[in-house]
Amino acid sequence: MADQASERKFRILVCIDGTEESYRGASFAAEFGPEHDICLCYVRPMDHGLRSGGLNVRIARENMLNWGLELPGITYLKKGRDVLIAHGAMGDDWKEEATHVDVEGDPLGDNKIEYTDKTGKKIILKLKVAFNVPSGILEQTEVAHYDLIILGASERWRRGKTKSFWDPAVAEKVVDHAPCSVLVARELDAVRGHLICSDGSEHANAAIERNLFLASHGNAPVSILAVSPDVEGEAAAAGHLAKLKSIFDAKRITIKNSYTRIGDPVEQILEVGADYSVIVVAESGKTPWARFFSSSVSQDIMQTAPNSVMIVR
């Protein structure tokens, strides 16, 4: 088991939807390093015949293809591939293999182009059909193992709690159910470094330790933060910070800045995190029901942060 785990490649799933944010996600994935595999995935929700008046939308798509036009998902994925090539994560001479998987209820099905270099590194373009977008992304994590999902944030996320519970945004739904770490991208860049936050719990520290590679994003500068809700807890927060620092020291990762703050954890993390590219927090471990009745710091940060947030698991 241990051998298998060490041989297993680090894999990133980048969700592409044609927005600039999703292409920035592809750039970010390319900057992680040269060895890992990247899958660019576009999810097309299954057609609903009633919406198109009983005429299947595939008729319109076939017409587009007859005119030599590309379907939108393919155009977006190709653009994502060009972003990877521009960042040197992929070469022009890689072996190419296309596969198709039938999907019940949709004749277009799932389509995949897999590019492989001589060392076995893979870049995959996946056009996936699913019941809806979050289901498609989550199904993809069942098809293959991924260490990180990168997807763009949605403004719709910032609505009230009840609405969000019943009809969450794509990113929110993926964050809730993904089996691996998730980076929700907003104005994503790697220049300003990462702020890693911990409440000092075993659960959070273990998640950060397991994902040091993600949390530090290759060579991005790393800063750490611990927050105490009141003055009495300041010493404990400093202890949390020291514990967090020791985790990084053990892996010889340099800490740029260390912060201890007093106050509301969400407010403090957002205030310090504003100067960073990515705020890294550990998953709260709460169920959606528990989060509904008592707030989760990681979820609140995800919802309100103006910049990118990574939830590590």
């Binding site: 009983g54 005429l55 595939r58 008729i59 319109a60 007859n66």
Partner: protein, 495 residues
Amino acid sequence: MAEVTTNSGRTVRVIAITMKSIGFYVWQRRWFFIAMGVGAIMMALPPPDGLSQKGMTVLTMSVVATILFVTEPVPLPTVALLIVVGQVILLGLDSTSVATSLMNDSVLFIMGSLMLAVAVVKQKLDKRLAFFIVRMTGTKTSRICIGISAVSGILASFIGEHTVAAMMLPVGLTLITLTSDDPRQVRRLAAVILFSISYGCSIAGIGTPSGGARNAIMIGYWREFFYDPANPDTYKFLIDYVTWMAYAYPMFLLQLPFVTLILLHTFRPEHRDLSRAVVKLRAQIQEEGGMTTRGWATIVLFFLVLLGWIFGSDALGLGTIAVLGAAAFLVAGLVNWEDMNSGVNWGVVLLYAAVISLGVQMKETGAAKWVAEGFIAMLSPFGADQGIGLWVAVSALTTAVTNTMSNGAAVAVLGPLVLNLADIAGESPLLIGFITAVSSAFAYLTVVGTPACTIVYASGYLKTSDFLVVGWRMVLMSTAILLVAASVYWPLLGT
């Protein structure tokens, strides 16, 4: 680091994963369970005054079906199957009579029209259409948009908006991509061209009965609810092809110029002239050569179907002629059955059939009348229980509903209610029915509202927010024209 896992630990993990999977399934289908919960509560309550137990059951089924239409937690044909089962088990109707109620001329017409749509789209007449538009309009963006809206609209009024949207989508996209490969450079141009197609089709879909399923559904309701062979006064409720056109076609023509004005004013395209794209498009089309024999045969056959609808629908019914047309395309070898079979979403035909059948039960059990009385009582304090106030209320209700579900489903769900409303308020059922059918085309605000909007959205160039940005202007324009037609023009036709 080696990980030690005990049997009990493994069991706990398996249970946790299973619970999470069940939780995810329940969450995915949450609206199904909510709808069923609402249904169970309604069925457990005693029927309110004035409503029979059977009426309460039909009302419950309608509420549950509406929740499922809007939220779509299960494939929509499932709703049709549940309606059929519900009529037999909950209403105690005979299985054969329920099965019989599923097929009538309106359903046959919807089925035949969809088969004709596939047959026409398969003939690749879109390149000829593109050639005709650019030759007629020149190269100015505004004129091309007018041309696209007009051609899309005129065709959609006869052969259905979904057919034309599917044919015109590549024409619009080719013009966009030939202007620039970078979508960011043509963002607003794309919006204007694609909305010219979808809104051109949407406003025209009401023009003739064959423009959309909703028209056939309303014609069916008039016949089911008001026509009595023994009473000559009710013959006016047998609406034929030409009568429908007399009411609705001017509405389409009046709206047409406003579509381009609103689109150009809202999006202000980056390019005022598309000479480069038009030259390339002309070159592409000329490579295709002239009109083929298949193309001509398609036009002739469809023209014959149209003549059949105009002159023969009284004797044969609109549905029979549509089905005959589809059969003629198959006999002529212009389309094969496999294409028709895969192009038509048969589940939708079943769905319309089941909803019309439920609509008839709404009327027969008195549920529609009870809801209509409640609605009138609600409108009364605002003075909207008759006249123009009622027209505005009916139009607003239909616009709200049609923006959350397909326009065909909106008319199928609202038809029994509004026609009873007309009866109670002393308004003409024809007038209120036309207001409902026409307003069901005002689904400009969302992607799911009209087939044409759904199809152009599949291009990937439009955002859902674009529909809101331009849609409210379209709603205001269309509502104003509808009210003018209802108060000035339709009375001249004897509503």
